[in-house]
């Protein structure tokens, strides 16, 4: 209770004001569906292994799109407990309409699609949908946490169209236990109070207007107020650790997971025999990796500390399945049998994840891969994939920092970065054009690196019927028939997938008297960018997925007797974002159209967005180029 009073004293306004809709400042209503009136978090660390958390939120819902905010969802698992949930509903004037009843609180499994089974559950509390706006809801919950690898991340403004009136975070640490933290976009520094046997840290935030993420904005953590916190000393189940730096964090993970790599004798013999014919280390690594890919599969079961500790390699050998930790540990054990050293690498995986905060050692990871140093020719192996080429990380785990878990402790390194030359789309299309404007096209298209991922996923995971449906959606020619198609892949470290298409296109070119008007760019248009409807506020972020290059060569066999009436002037563009060139010339008796676009990743200012839109518009215009063919005459120019 003392903590609560402490917070009240900081905000001398009348308690009822926090429920009254009229008390909301105008600046907080703009663009907002809901206003967080109060968000008060008190995290009290009792010991390295136990903490309590109390969170009070008061939210005023302004319209129907804010209804989702009028509920509380709190997760828990075997190592945490929700002790109490309290809630109340108020009308626009702040009068209490009703209190939350036990029947309004649901307890559900929180196993998501990515996992087969977890012990994560959640409590879900809500009030029935209200007929009148605005209305206010208040929730208070108290929880006990026994897994102190993780301390709270404070994000009072965690959604678009949500403004924040007052928010506070109080963390109480016992004397002798240090707190680490890193703040972004907080304009008030922390207030620290040292007392006899504890230290209290207080952060506050007031009057934060609602935001909306603009197209291609940087990661949300750069734009909203956010505070990351982490322990130095912590305990979870029977394990203790300290993390003042990455070395110690890695050491903890190593201790948690070591000595689980015993393998059955027959399996060891089998692996030795399998790799016996390989003269090089690379050859052995490849054989082991393929063995894992062909003989295991990914099934995720995350229970308790099991969420961070692998099951024994012997179990994986028996059941032939496991999650990312288990399969990585299993692969490491197999490589060890043939004398190839490897270490786990903790990573934050995902194609839309920002890189970890390298200057804030904490458990920011959600995945494990295997680093094989291979005498400087380092490979990072994805042990959960049965189809990944050896050492390809791509959008899932490439372009980012990882933490190597060596026996001496953790060490940060980086997975491979992919350049535009690695991420290519190369289309070679041969077209036969008729006088009526119809065409048949044979396309041999190659995609490499990041640009290969969609198609390799299609080739490996989808039936032919599904591949066909996807292609029919993908090819943006108005009227075409897909006569034949096939895919094949090369599982090189920068993967290549080849797509072969046979198309029949109707009315591609327009006949007019003795002329034929032919659009030249058959398959590869890049549309315009999302225009800004109001002055842009946020920087423009072209992330790692924007490092690519497309080259198209379309070779047209012209109808008998037709020639271009005039040459096409070459089209070139250069900008800070990338380059574009396109042109067409006669090569023998064929008309060859070539197009090349290169885009480079980078961060640009908000004002540069207008230039990006303009660059894309110019490309879109050039992509619509039409050639005039004329019958009988030879070009006079």
């Amino acid at each position: 209770m003392r903590k609560y009073l402490l917070l009240l004293l900081s905000f001398p306004a009348l308690a009822q004001d926090e429920y009254r809709a009229a008390a909301i400042p105008e600046s907080l209503r703009a663009n907002a569906h809901a206003v967080v009136r109060r968000h008060e978090t008190a995290f009290v660390v009792k010991s390295p292994g136990e903490a309590t958390q109390r969170v009070r939120t008061v939210v005023t819902v302004l319209d129907a799109q804010g209804d989702d905010e009028a509920r509380l969802i709190v997760g828990y698992d075997k190592l945490s407990k929700i002790n109490d949930i309290w809630g109340a509903l108020y009308d626009a004037s702040g009068n209490q309409l009703k209190k939350l009843k036990k029947a309004d609180i649901d307890d559900q499994s929180a196993t998501d699609d990515g996992s087969f089974l977890t012990d994560r559950r959640l409590k879900h509390a809500s009030f029935p949908r209200q007929p009148n706006y605005p209305y206010t809801v208040e929730f208070v919950y108290e929880a006990t946490e026994r897994n102190l690898m993780f301390y709270p991340t404070w994000v009072p403004q965690s959604k678009e169209n949500r403004s924040v009136e007052q928010a506070s975070l109080t963390i109480t640490m016992p004397k002798g236990q240090a707190l680490r933290y890193k703040a972004f976009n907080l304009n008030k520094p922390v207030e620290r109070q040292d007392e006899a046997n504890q230290t209290v840290y207080v952060w506050t935030l007031t009057n934060q207007p609602a935001i909306e993420l603009e197209s291609m904005a940087p990661p949300a953590r750069e734009l909203v107020p956010i505070l990351y916190t982490a322990p130095t000393a912590f305990e979870v189940q029977d394990y203790t650790g300290t993390i003042t730096n990455w070395k110690e964090l890695g050491r903890f993970y190593h201790v948690l997971n070591r000595d689980r790599d015993a393998l059955p004798a027959e399996l060891k013999t089998q692996i030795v025999q399998l790799t016996a014919g390989e003269a090089t280390a690379m050859g052995k690594i490849r054989k082991v990796y393929e063995f894992v890919q062909q003989n295991t599969r990914y099934v995720s079961v995350q229970l308790g500390i099991g969420g961070w500790q692998t099951i024994a390699a012997e179990k994986v050998a028996a059941t032939k399945y496991g999650d990312c930790k288990a399969l990585t540990n299993y692969t490491k054990a197999l490589l060890n049998v043939v004398g190839i050293p490897a270490v786990e690498a903790l990573v934050r995986a995902g194609d839309d994840e920002a890189d970890i905060l390298t200057d804030f050692p904490s458990f920011q990871f959600n995945h494990v891969i295997l680093c094989v140093p291979n005498k400087g020719d380092t490979l990072y192996l994805e042990c959960t994939s049965q189809t990944n080429p050896l050492g390809y990380n791509g959008t899932f785990t490439g372009n980012r920092h990882v933490l190597l878990v060596t026996p001496d402790g953790g060490r940060l390194t980086q997975t491979p970065h992919y350049s535009p030359a690695d991420n290519r789309q190369m289309r070679r299309i041969d077209v036969i054009l008729t006088e009526q404007g119809d065409a048949t096209a044979q396309a041999v298209n190659r995609y490499t690196g990041i640009q290969s991922e969609t198609r390799t996923g299609l080739l490996n995971n989808r039936s032919q019927a599904e591949q066909r449906t996807w292609l029919l959606e993908q090819v943006r020619i108005p009227n075409f028939e897909l006569k034949k198609f096939s895919f094949s892949e090369q599982k090189t470290q920068i993967p290549v997938v080849t797509e072969t298409l046979t198309l029949a296109v109707r009315k591609w070119a327009t006949p007019s008297g003795s002329r034929l008007f032919v659009p030249l760019n058959l398959m590869s248009t890049l549309g315009p960018a999302t225009p800004a409807t109001s002055p842009r506020q946020q920087p423009l972020d072209l992330d790692a997925n924007w490092n690519w290059q497309d080259t198209d060569t379309v070779s047209y066999q012209l109808p008998q007797g037709y020639r271009p009436e005039a040459p096409i002037s070459p089209m070139t563009l250069t900008s800070a974002f990338g380059d574009y060139t396109a042109g067409a010339q006669m090569v023998g008796d064929r008309l060859v159209y070539t197009r090349r676009v290169t885009i480079r990743r980078g961060r640009h200012t908000a004002t540069a967005y207008a230039e990006w839109v303009d660059f894309r518009k110019k490309i879109a215009k050039f992509d619509k180029v039409q050639l005039v063919l004329v019958k009988g005459e030879v070009a006079t120019k």
Binding site: Q65, S109, N460, P478, T510
Partner: protein
């Protein structure tokens, strides 16, 4: 006893066929094929055999369902089939469905010998979703490309939890070589069943049998049924099929009646007439319409405001329910208590529409419930009365000799228009005192849009002018709901984001809050870089940024009807003033197309008057549904219309010495 309604295409072939169902867990080397697997799919079902029997205990009847399913994994991506799960139900009184036995097998052929791994009931994991549903999960070991896997399990379901066997699907997203279903029904029970889909039975038989319902009772007479379908192809996904499950070959069941000392007596009877009667007797349907005394005061106040005009009273009652009660987004067939709905001011579709019917009846307006199945729920079967097919109710009223439908859940439709989700061909009207009948839900309104544009081209690639977009019928719905939900400025800004080629200088929106009227968007637009130059020539798309661009029908084959839900009409009338110094070199030829059986028309023409071009386009598809036999013509209709819209107008720079 089973009463079956079958589609007319069914032919029962030989009375018994060789069943490929093998004993549980027994796989030999010859079960693995020599030829390389067909990897166009990632797995196939070798056989899937289900059986339902009945037993009794102190609490009443129970269904006992056993299943034995064997699959072959063809690609690494198919190993996910080795993860099994089943959701079981409970009642609030803690009577549960239980998983009684479970066995899982993985068989791999290794050097000519079969290696088998087995898992049992103890290995099953439980995921308690909430107090009503529990999911049982099991992961098979050692699953890889080439494995044959099997599941065999038994589920016991007390009648208190559910008395209808789960539907049995003969067809799935992967090929099924053999799917077999047996059902032994004691004489006490009568079930209705419905077989849907296009596949035929390879086996369809019934014979007398006896069953031992419990150890205490003598054997009872029963009938044993057996159905099987062979070589079901993977179910294809096609566009414009609102409820794919409707077309999957499957058997559905519904209990018709129970007789006997240990059973709970239920009698739904079999015909639609009897189902109508049951609905009128249910407290959550007809029962609600008999308890409308609480609406008398409200009716009286409406009556006093509109003493003469019945139509005005109808409108007032409709508007009252529509604006007072908030729809919670849920479809429903019945209501627990419509008085509470009025007190709480919110409810589901049945809460709201039964309340509306009650109010109209208190006003002495002829109003009856019409029950239906929403689009995503599948079309109701007129041949067989299945309560489980119905999931929604609306009102049908007759006033001043006009009959119209009313649904008070949706503030954006005009009275007489049903929300799009209800447009599912046919519903069932259930009047209080006359026999029920089927009613057509075919909408009168269309998805109708008119775009009128006046533009001037400058010489630099830009078009400036006005675009007036009139949306009526169902076309107005997204605009109305968007404006009322987001407000005009936000709606316009979202519209601009969706049209990157436009620069909206000014937009006025009219009639967004009048559902009876046409919504009008009046734009002043600048389109930059709207046409391309090549030397002396300009290539201009006649409809600028608008018109048809992509054919929704890419495939050349079609299995199922094309269900748009509502007819549509799109009209364009653009006037474009050409830049000075250019002459017209090529104008697309006019085109007129029609579809058979008044199925549609496309009319397109461009005419020139001095320095302006007038472009007119009409595309009309008046039918909500097209049969699959008309697919190729429909597809070709789009091919030609799209090609015509894409055809450019070509302008050429006039020679300086030439006069126009």
């Amino acid at each position: 006893m089973l009463v079956i309604c079958l589609t007319s295409r069914l032919v029962a072939q030989s009375p018994t066929s060789d069943s490929p169902v093998k004993p549980v867990g027994v796989v030999v080397a010859s079960d693995f094929p020599m030829a390389p697997a067909d990897t166009s799919v990632d797995a196939e079902v070798l056989f899937d055999a289900g059986e339902v029997r009945f037993e009794t205990d102190l609490l009443g009847f129970q269904m006992v369902f056993t299943r034995h399913r064997r699959m072959r994994i063809l690609k690494a991506s198919g190993t996910g089939h080795g993860n099994w799960q089943l959701t079981l139900k409970a009642t609030t009184g803690s009577t549960n469905e239980t998983l009684e036995t479970m066995q899982g097998f993985t068989h791999n052929l290794v050097n000519g010998a079969v290696e088998t791994e087995t898992v049992r009931l103890d290995d099953v994991l439980t995921d308690t979703f909430n107090d009503k549903f529990t999911t049982k999960k099991l992961s098979l070991p050692a699953v890889r490309a080439g494995s044959i896997i099997e599941f065999a399990y038994k589920v016991r379901t007390p009648f208190l939890v559910s008395y209808n066997p789960r539907p049995w699907l003969f067809q799935e997203g992967i090929p099924v070589r053999w799917s077999e279903y047996r059902l032994t029904i004691p004489g006490h029970l009568r079930y209705k069943s419905l077989f849907s889909g296009r596949l035929r039975f390879a086996v369809e038989e019934n014979r007398p049998a006896t069953v031992q319902l419990s150890l205490k009772e003598p054997p009872a007479s029963a009938i044993a049924y057996r159905f099987a379908v062979a070589n079901a192809p993977a179910f294809p996904v096609e566009p414009f099929v609102p409820a794919p499950l409707e077309h999957v070959s499957r058997l559905e069941f519904e209990l018709a009646s129970v007789n006997g000392p240990t059973g709970v007596l239920k009698d739904f009877s079999i015909t639609w007439g009897a189902l109508d009667k049951s609905l009128l007797e249910f407290p959550w349907f007809g029962g609600q319409l008999r308890k409308t005394a609480f609406l008398r005061d409200l009716a009286a106040s409406i009556r006093s405001k509109h003493p003469i005009d019945e139509l005005a009273r109808l409108t007032a009652a409709y508007e009252y329910v529509r604006t007072t009660i908030k729809w919670n987004g849920r479809d429903a067939l019945g209501s627990e208590n419509i008085k509470q709905v009025l007190d709480n001011r919110q409810g589901d579709a049945a809460d709201i529409n039964l309340l509306l019917i009650g109010l109209l009846r208190e006003l002495d307006i002829a109003a009856d419930p019409v029950v239906l199945s929403t689009r995503s729920h599948g079309k109701l079967a007129e041949k067989e009365a299945m309560l489980q097919h119905l999931n929604y109710v609306v009102a049908q009223v007759t006033v001043q000799n006009k009959t119209l439908f009313l649904d008070a859940t949706d503030p954006y439709v005009a009275p007489g228009m049903l929300p799009f989700r209800c447009l599912n061909q046919v519903g069932r009207s259930i009047p209080a005192k006359q026999p029920g009948q089927f009613v057509s839900l075919r909408p009168n309104a269309l998805n109708e849009e008119h775009l009128t544009g006046t533009f001037t081209l400058d010489g630099d690639g830009n078009a400036k002018g006005h675009l007036i977009h009139r949306a009526s019928g169902y076309a107005g719905w997204p605009i109305r709901s968007g404006v009322l939900r987001d407000g005009k400025p936000k709606f316009i800004s979202t519209l601009a984001t969706g049209h990157p080629a436009w620069q909206l200088l000014q937009t006025d929106i009219l009639n967004a809050d009048h559902p009876d009227s046409v919504v009008v968007l009046n734009h002043t637009i600048l389109c930059r870089d709207i046409y391309s130059e090549q030397g002396d020539r300009l290539f201009l798309q006649p409809l600028l940024t608008e018109g048809l661009t992509i054919n929704p029908f890419r495939e050349t084959k079609r299995r199922y009807p094309i269900d748009f839900g509502v007819g549509s009409k799109q009209e364009y009338a653009f006037t474009i003033t050409l830049p000075t110094g250019y002459v017209v070199e090529h104008i697309p030829e006019p085109l007129s197309l029609t579809l058979p059986d008044e199925g549609g028309r496309f009319d397109y023409q461009i005419s020139q008057a001095n320095n302006t071009l007038i472009i007119k386009s009409l595309l009309s598809l008046p039918k909500p549904i097209y049969p699959r036999e008309e697919y190729l013509e429909l597809r070709d209709f789009f091919v030609q219309a799209i090609a015509k819209h894409a055809e450019r107008i070509v302008l050429k720079r006039a020679e300086l010495t030439k006069k126009k």
